[in-house]
């Protein structure tokens, strides 16, 4: 990799507070191509707030997020282009069909040939035949797949995932893991906030523990799971 290539995702001194309530108290992180950073921590640690700041959905009180060398700012919408977000919410409109939802997303991202891209994305998640059904009529598993198609539609270089395995059955979880593996193999990056360590463990290249808005353990290469689980328990109760 050329030395002056900016990292896909960089966060410097991120803070988020209102008055004396501090959700995030100074977080630095760096994610390279092919990295998957797993962030774990107890409820209320500020993980979701951090992810929202990384995605440009929440403005930091201090610090900045730099995506491929561009600082995320309210007046620079294009800086958000390389980002994709997957959460337990689908971001879909129940009354529209899967294809209509995807076409709308494609138009928002100004992709060429939105209709064709929508069809292709749906095929990729194995729902090619169900594109014309309203999302309301789809099963939960299918909705997840449409949401995944929506996230992958724009070919994001950096995927942000907020508890993505919540409510997924085993096959769906496997499917998601497969996509993540392919994404990383194509030099994409990802940041995953998850409770379920076992789901992400074999994919994670680095793991950080967040407690009370800061790193209890800053991101470091992932040790074997049982070792980590012991350390995690110590961090929480120590």
């Amino acid at each position: 990799m050329p030395p002056d290539d900016p990292p896909p995702l960089l966060a410097e001194g991120l803070k988020r507070s209102f008055g004396h309530v501090h959700a995030v108290r100074g977080i630095d992180l760096r994610v390279e191509r092919g990295d998957l950073l797993a962030i774990v921590g107890p409820n209320g640690a500020g993980k979701t707030t951090l992810l929202r700041m990384l995605g440009g959905l929440a403005r930091p009180s201090a610090g900045r997020v730099i995506v491929q060398g561009r600082t995320l700012r309210a007046d620079d919408p294009d800086a958000r282009r390389p980002l994709g977000l997957l959460s337990h919410q689908s971001f879909l409109y129940d009354d529209l069909t899967a294809l209509e939802n995807l076409r709308f997303a494609a138009r928002l991202y100004r992709l060429p040939e939105p209709a064709a891209r929508a069809v292709a994305a749906l095929e990729t998640v194995g729902l090619g035949g169900d594109g014309n059904r309203p999302v309301r009529t789809l099963s939960r598993g299918m909705v997840q797949r449409v949401a995944l198609a929506r996230a992958l539609l724009t070919d994001p270089e950096i995927l942000l995932l907020d508890e993505p395995f919540t409510g997924l059955d085993a096959p769906a979880g496997d499917r998601l893991r497969r996509f993540l593996r392919e994404h990383l193999a194509r030099a994409g990056s990802a940041v995953v906030v998850s409770h379920q360590l076992t789901e992400v463990w074999d994919l994670a290249t680095a793991v950080g523990i967040m407690v009370g808005g800061r790193w209890a353990e800053p991101p470091a290469p992932a040790p074997p799971l049982d070792v980590f689980q012991r350390r995690y328990a110590e961090r929480l109760h120590g």
């Binding site: 440009g56 959905l57 929440a58 294009d78 971001f91 409109y93 529209l96 991202y109 309203p134």
Partner: protein, 226 residues
């Protein structure tokens, strides 16, 4: 600039499509308008009050309340499944999201008004052909005013408790100058006065529109950016 327009068009198109699918808000607003007109008819003593005296007020009250039903749906649909986050994540200017919503809201409220006006003529036996161009002008300028403010406020109230009560409560003081001016102008027009007499009122409404159209997209950003 092109981005702004394209985004606004995409958002407006999506809103119109969603509403077309379920049609609930539109139908509710139309039925509501019809019911209000009927009630007004029975709630007056025709021997005491001529229809012509009451007509402008009835018309605009109907427009105002039916509009609020239409406005409520605007951001409510973005709340399900956190769809708004999906739009905010996209590389689009946030002000353009406001413009898209505004255009969609104008279409809905415009449709309600277009259906209500003939009903009004029918129920109240008012002849307004002579006044139609002027009346349409007043309707356009006044509606733009309260829909702009209503779109901004609905973005806020959807996140509060008692959202459906909160929107009328916040919006009514803002509708007051618009409604009273519109009613006065409408009364003059229905009475056959020339357009030149209501010119001052039209300018007032236009000024209201310009001020709030300028300020609202900017304030909208403050509303949606956490």
């Amino acid at each position: 600039m092109g981005d702004w327009l394209r985004t606004a068009a995409a958002v407006a198109g999506k809103d119109l499509l969603v509403e077309w699918r379920s049609r609930t808000a539109m139908l509710s607003a139309l039925v509501f308008a019809a019911v209000v007109l009927v009630i007004f008819n029975f709630a007056r003593d025709a021997t005491l009050l001529a229809a012509a005296d009451l007509a402008p007020s009835v018309l605009w009250i109907t427009f105002a309340f039916a509009a609020m039903i239409a406005l409520n749906r605007g951001f409510a649909l973005e709340k399900e499944n956190a769809a708004l986050d999906g739009i905010l994540l996209a590389p689009v200017p946030r002000g353009a999201l406001f413009t898209g919503k505004l255009v969609a809201n104008l279409a809905f409220v415009g449709l309600v008004e277009a259906v209500t006006l003939p009903l009004f003529v029918l129920f109240f036996n008012v002849s307004l052909w002579h006044a139609l161009p002027g009346l349409l002008g007043v309707m356009a300028v006044a509606t733009l005013g309260f829909v702009v403010v209503g779109t901004l406020f609905s973005a806020m109230t959807v996140r509060t408790r008692f959202a459906e009560l909160m929107l009328p409560m916040l919006l009514l003081p803002f509708m007051m100058p618009v409604l009273s001016t519109a009613v006065q102008a409408t009364a003059r027009l229905l009475a056959g006065r020339p357009l030149s007499e209501i010119w001052g009122w039209l300018r007032f409404l236009a000024l209201y529109d310009v001020v709030f159209l300028t300020v609202s997209p900017w304030l909208f950003r403050a509303v949606v950016e956490e």
